[in-house]
Amino acid sequence: MHIGLTHFLVLSAAMFCMGVLCLLSRRNAIGLLMGIELIVNAANINLVAFSHYFGNAVAGQIFALFGIVLAAVGVTVALAIVLALYRTFHKSIEVDSASTLRG
């Protein structure tokens, strides 16, 4: 049983699809955020797997590191928005209750 590059890529594809499923089937904002985190993690697995199987070049790992930082920034701002939503829209964080801007 040899584990190669494609094994990791398929694992990451499956995790990505779980994230998409989470985004599609939920309507509360924190659930959507969890889906986004799953997707970012799947992308990072791809980057690290490529960097390992193409001569252990360190560039892919640095790219994944920046990805983690960007995800952290995203979570911080998104959770602040969620808390603001909760205050504004009568103790609800379902994304379709926040439709005030709809024309």
Binding site: L21, S25, V48, A59, I62, F66, A72, V75, L79
Partner: protein
Amino acid sequence: MTYAIMFYALCALILVSSAAVALSTNIIYSAFSLLFAFMGVGLIYAMLSADFLAVTQLILYVGGILVLILFAVMLTFQIEETKRSNQSFSRGLALLTAAGLFALLTAAVLLAPWKPHAGEPPFGPTTAEIGNSLLGAYRLPFEVVSVLLVVGMVGAVVVARKETRER
């Protein structure tokens, strides 16, 4: 051999816990399964000889982001009411879309003619090299991302605080 067993065990851990994140009806359960998904991904990094990234994943995701998410869940939800925490759209359609996407991605991965370097890929510590590259070839993105962190932090404070302006 042990490598393969380890890989499939981690696959099972990651896929089961991400499925629980996506499908659980209680948002608290989703948050806790996210913990196991993050840990599984960190161990996958370790299997890909990315030791520094594995530790960073554990510290940042499990210690930071997940705690933040749990805080937000507990601040905003009436946890007892599981009905409120996950009202979903048509779940069948979502499942169908995700399955189709997975088939497409897997076909693309399997059909693409990857040419990885021959032989077993080398295992070794990468922390020193990452540090040197961050302050060498990648110092501009490093600085930009630190500015971005500050901007994100200030933005989060501005968005989350109460409006207390006097008229």
